[in-house]
Symmetry: C2
Subunit: 98 residues, 2 copies
């Protein structure tokens, strides 16, 4: 059995990854939406998204709607794979005992 993915395992990041994974394919989630869904502060959310981006697990897209800045994130293919592998790891662990 493979080990845990410590980047994804952290609870706030696991919730971020789960939220992104549950999106209909091709959809993006806004920074602010994610932040309010998960009850994080601006700084906290920015730090966790930075960690996921640095790992290549999420893609961050910035644009403007009118003149409003908008930041949206999505899982990369690598990120989705990593998430799926970690979920398998957890399922095996939690059902098999270890």
């Amino acid at each position: 059995m493979e080990g845990p993915d410590e980047i994804i395992h952290q609870s706030m990041r696991l919730r971020i990854a789960a939220s992104l994974n549950a999106l209909p394919s091709g959809e993006l989630l806004e920074f602010g939406k994610l932040k309010s869904m998960l009850g994080a502060t601006d700084g906290n959310m920015a730090t966790h998204l930075g960690a996921l981006e640095k790992a290549g697990y999420i893609a961050v897209e910035k644009d403007f709607v009118g003149k409003k800045p908008r930041t949206r994130v999505s899982l990369t293919r690598v990120g989705r794979k990593a998430f799926e592998r970690h979920v398998s790891y957890l399922k095996d662990l939690l059902e098999g005992g270890q």
Copy 2:
């Protein structure tokens, strides 16, 4: 949905809890067995067991076999409940998306 149990969530402690939860009822796991199963150092294992014990999630029993010291641990009722609740939390999160 309830939040994560941060004491149990940490990856080494989650593995400890899963190992203890998978034991046949009434059985105990030895410190050294757990340590080698999970690939932890003495100090690391002692610290995590201490955290779980402080939370009331595990019971630590010390005795001697002949004159050999033996430390064995088991989940308390509270610990088993907490583990089960955290597993439910994870399953909901990982399947429901959140």
